[in-house]
Subunit: 325 residues, 5 copies
């Protein structure tokens, strides 16, 4: 889908023909999204955009800013969290949006649909004066800003996941919990892989690299840059948090083993001596005054029971002191 508008302080006009739109007075925005094969090439030809730019958008490479002779090219990634049972790295859905900013035109390029761009597009068509009269570089800033705002939504969802796992972790030692922690860490890794180059790409704009970005707009890019610094910061923090959570999980497991061992030890330590005593009095020695006289002693059995009770009680006191019980 290709669409073109031209706008300025006086208002907004939609155009069908790209070349006419390009040459009209005012800021020209050509938006390619959900692109058919060939649409990218058509627009690139009209605006003199290098084939490497088109390749980068098609291949969805890492975010970057690259100054060309007549325009500045920025590629950023939209991010969405696709929950569900998916294969490796698929949960963080990242799609590329390329933005070329020329003297009086801006071209946005995306092969999949570019939802966050919609809101800027609508604002322009509604005639939002905060965009119309500020030139193509400010329009580009608004697109980038919208895309980066989505990053915080994703981070919020990931924080919710972290909190859920922190609850779960002290309650059970289900192997699934560790897999959840690992999946979360992987999502954070994938997200950071998207956000980090994006920060660098916006940083180039904020430091006023390309000449197409005017001083006033630089301030706005610095604002986006600050947001991206915060995004990357939070991602690192979240990774650190999951590390702590994993430690607690693993420790809960060790703790469980320790407690199982204690139960076993208490039971065995109480009953093994008792069983031995019972075994002794089950022996069949006989026929001599030395051979088990206690068996026919009047109080033999009660005495044996008392002795066994004493052994068991002593053991229980011992374990109580050692805090096994």
């Amino acid at each position: 889908m290709i669409a073109a508008v031209v706008y300025g302080p006086d208002g907004v006009t939609e155009y069908d023909d790209l070349a006419t739109a390009r040459d009209a007075t005012g800021t020209t925005w050509v938006r390619v999204s959900d692109a058919d094969p060939g649409e990218l090439d058509t627009v690139a030809e009209t605006f003199g955009i290098h084939s490497l730019v088109v390749e980068d958008v098609r291949n969805e490479v890492r975010a970057k800013t690259q100054p060309y002779d007549d325009y500045a090219f920025t590629l950023v990634k939209t991010v969405e969290l696709a929950r569900g049972d998916q294969s490796f790295e698929e949960e963080i859905l990242a799609e590329a949006v390329g933005i070329c900013v020329g003297e009086d035109w801006v071209v946005s390029l995306s092969v999949p649909p570019d939802d966050p761009v919609d809101r800027v597009w609508d604002a322009v068509r509604r005639g939002d004066s905060r965009i119309l009269d500020r030139g193509p570089d400010f329009t580009a800033y608004r697109i980038v800003d919208m895309i980066v705002d989505e990053y915080f939504t994703v981070l919020d969802d990931l924080e919710t996941d972290i909190e859920a796992i922190e609850e779960a972790v002290t309650e059970s030692t289900d192997i699934g919990t560790l897999e959840d922690i690992n999946a979360l860490r992987r999502d954070l890794l994938a997200f950071r892989k998207v956000a980090w180059p994006c920060r660098e790409a916006v940083g180039v704009l904020a430091r006023g690299g390309p000449t197409q970005v005017r001083d006033e707009t630089e301030k706005y890019y610095r604002d986006v840059y600050d947001h991206l610094v915060q995004v990357v910061d939070l991602t690192e923090t979240y990774r650190d948090l999951t590390t702590g959570t994993r430690d607690i999980y693993l420790n809960t497991l060790s703790q469980s083993t320790n407690e199982v061992m204690k139960v076993l030890t208490v039971i065995a330590t109480i009953f093994l001596p008792l069983t031995f005593v019972a075994g002794v009095y089950g022996m069949n020695f006989a026929g001599s005054p030395y051979n088990m006289p206690e068996l026919t002693w009047r109080y033999g059995y009660p005495a044996a029971l008392v002795a066994m009770g004493a052994i068991a009680g002593g053991m229980l006191v011992y374990f109580k002191r050692k805090e096994y019980l």
Copy 2:
């Protein structure tokens, strides 16, 4: 709440009208704190402060220093430790204070109450000559210095926590101890996340970035910068210490398991052979000279008892040597 004072070597005057205060001779300080919606905008308009600055103060972004055309903007964070059973990252309470330093004015902006600023405000109104005649950049330094001094109070509290946990850790293997360690590490993480950008923001001032900071004041900012370097250093050190504490905790647990195992092994190893011997003499073989002649031997029972005692004694000596006991 908006308040305005103008001061210089000759004394201090309070003003109600912002524009009059701005134009009066001397250093003008306008302080917005505990702000109603709209108060920030009113002040920003009077002093020509960019809307991005107001947004940064509202959103409580990371600390930073940003030079604008007519003023230098610095945002720092006040820090307070809110103990109690709170959810993620809530224990380190960080509030933003924005400071704009112009030619002959300083504006401080904060949406929540800004307690550490109070002390500087009081000093100015008392006519403290160490502030009055040193211009707006020195007043800004005093505000930043007060805020950073609070950081050390928070660090002292965290150090107290560390020492309490280090005591606890060798005494019990309560799962709660590991959770305390983790909570502490998280506090340190959150604190470092606040202090690190603050260090960078003050560093820009100390290196004399914005023209509104005079050479003499730079020296004072270098002093604050040194303090912030120390704060970040200490945070790292504390994290390292908690790592060591966690190791000791985990080891105490392994040690406990090891000792439980030893108790079990000693008991089982002593009583299993004894029970076996007793079991042998409980067998009912009879009716042949080969079938258990020891049962009717005159000293059979005492001999069996002695043999069992010898086995038990031997085992005890063996375990003594292996240091199980």
Copy 3:
């Protein structure tokens, strides 16, 4: 094997004599691959290539770019994954390809066969106009680009390995699984050791270091550089993933030990008390009204069985609650 071609907008000619090829009008490409001893030296002499360059190609040193007076020297590594039971670091097969770019000539040097170069060589000989009229630096770019494209193939294979191991890891605690994880980590290490210097070497070309690389070609090298950044990124990510996988493996093992302990504890805790009770009633006390009157009680045996059943049942309920079962 030495081969030489000269080409330009007008077409391609093959040459047998190196000096004639060097002096012919157009871009001269001399390709040495699968080199006999001495072939490198012959070509180096003809084109005035420094002996250190030849040594670097022979010793297959790390990738690098080094500007010399009359030419720029770049060494990159082809990579292949040689599966099988091989000794240390042998699985990532890396071979060196050296490329010298002069005013109007390019020399490619390799001691082993240089398969990825074949495709560029064929394109030139077919008269591919996208190469012929763009000079020697663009030819060099195509060679480097082909070699780097293979890196992604290797990474895809490694990703397949990772996914296979992630499946295996929760299913068994076979020691072989950990060895597989370790072998994979080692492959990633070896691969990163190849890719990292390659990224730096191409980075020098992308930043336009050597004068032999024209501005237009720099853009293409920036593209390859982006790919290499992505390659190194992915390698780091894969290492992080294998770390997570190893954690799950180790945890599965701990989990297994924990469960084995529980089985043992349940069995011992049920049968030790029962065996003790049976042992008591196997004692031979007799000859007194206090000595085991229950043995001749009419319902003695059924009562004992019921008691033992109650003990066993109580234990089972207890373990059910503690989630051992």
Copy 4:
């Protein structure tokens, strides 16, 4: 304590009055150590030293070099190892020494006694010609050099500790050993925290930052800088070594658990089957030709003993093969 000397190629004179000493021809060294409240201020006033410098010395901040208009200020830390049962971070005793180097004067400032400075002070008063005629910056170098030399003494003591712990670690699994390792790591951390900023402070002098340091003296500061690089290096290495030691300690513990388990398993696996056999022949089946005919078989008992011996022997062979014994 305030003391003042003036010296040059012609000899050394002690002065009581600070202002006279300052104005006398030659290098003036004023030394404040073990300072009463107020002594620092007195000297600072005489030599025009900034109040921030005095504050830094009082607060014993991190080491640093700060150029002021008329002098260069360097703060370094003396280090001493205070063994004993002390609370957190108290074992590495660090005291601040501030040194201001002016045109023809040097002022050394310290609140506690500054022992390493004594040796330089004595050398000056003895008229050591290697110091007298080389100006105030060389005197400052000698003080810094003396202080840094002490660092190696502390490192030697820590290395001795490491070696003692490495001996201990394979011999016992005393929990105290892990605490010793942790205490050592903490000492190394505290020491590194002192040495690292000191390295940076001397680095500034070695690169010839302040104008008061002449080219010839820079070479000497480079030498101290090299020493401090080595000190920091060693500290890192020692930390790595203690990590290895901790691993061995933890492994020794796991090994111990493993061996305890083996003892238990061997004993249980031998005696449980034997006890079962004995239990079988202790059963009271009777009154039928099928009920335990072996009990009255002529060789029943010897056969049972032989069978039990065979079972035990088989188990022992099995465990021998599995290397449990």
Copy 5:
């Protein structure tokens, strides 16, 4: 030992007197090795070498390059692997060789014997034309190159150690294996501590820092620099490998504990129930039709044996399914 030669395109002459050698036409090389006390000072005086240089050689400080007014000073370390049962850090034997390169002279200084320098010395005396006519900086390069070549020999030996340990690690859980791994890691640490500063020192020469190094020689230093980069790289890789090996070792140990537990559990779980059954039929209940009628049932004993066999068989099937067997 002091020796002096002077050489150039015309040949080589040995000299006894240092001053004469210094003033002779051609490149003068004075070599001090296996030095008596005082020999370093004698040479330093003749060539105007700073006393700090002599101190650095005596103290065997870290490798470095330091430009002085009339010469460039480089200190590198020879490395040898001293196997055997030695104390901490003694296995990597590093000796210092200092090299001063002047206008037309080179001085090499070493307190211990400097074996790798021998080969360059011999080449010069043999009149090797690749050295004679290339000036003192090239001679210095040859010495450094020889020393660095030894690093690869040491690395090869360490790789052999790694491979040996990797074999051993899956075969036994001998505590000695972990100590071997740790010793190897320590050797790698010590080696890296030597190689890292050496890389930096040669890097200064390769970037053409000192004026005494001519452009042509810089290329050769770049070559040595590449080798040192590879050396440091390999050291890091080897450390990573030993980390993997340690993981496998520790896992083998856990695996062993797990298997021991399984053996114990299988045995206990089979024999505890059987022993219980046998115990039941060893009870002495009698004198009532409810008291153990099975004891006198015609097929009581065979039925009990069959029941016990069934229990044992069921357990075995259960454990087979749980993969304990």
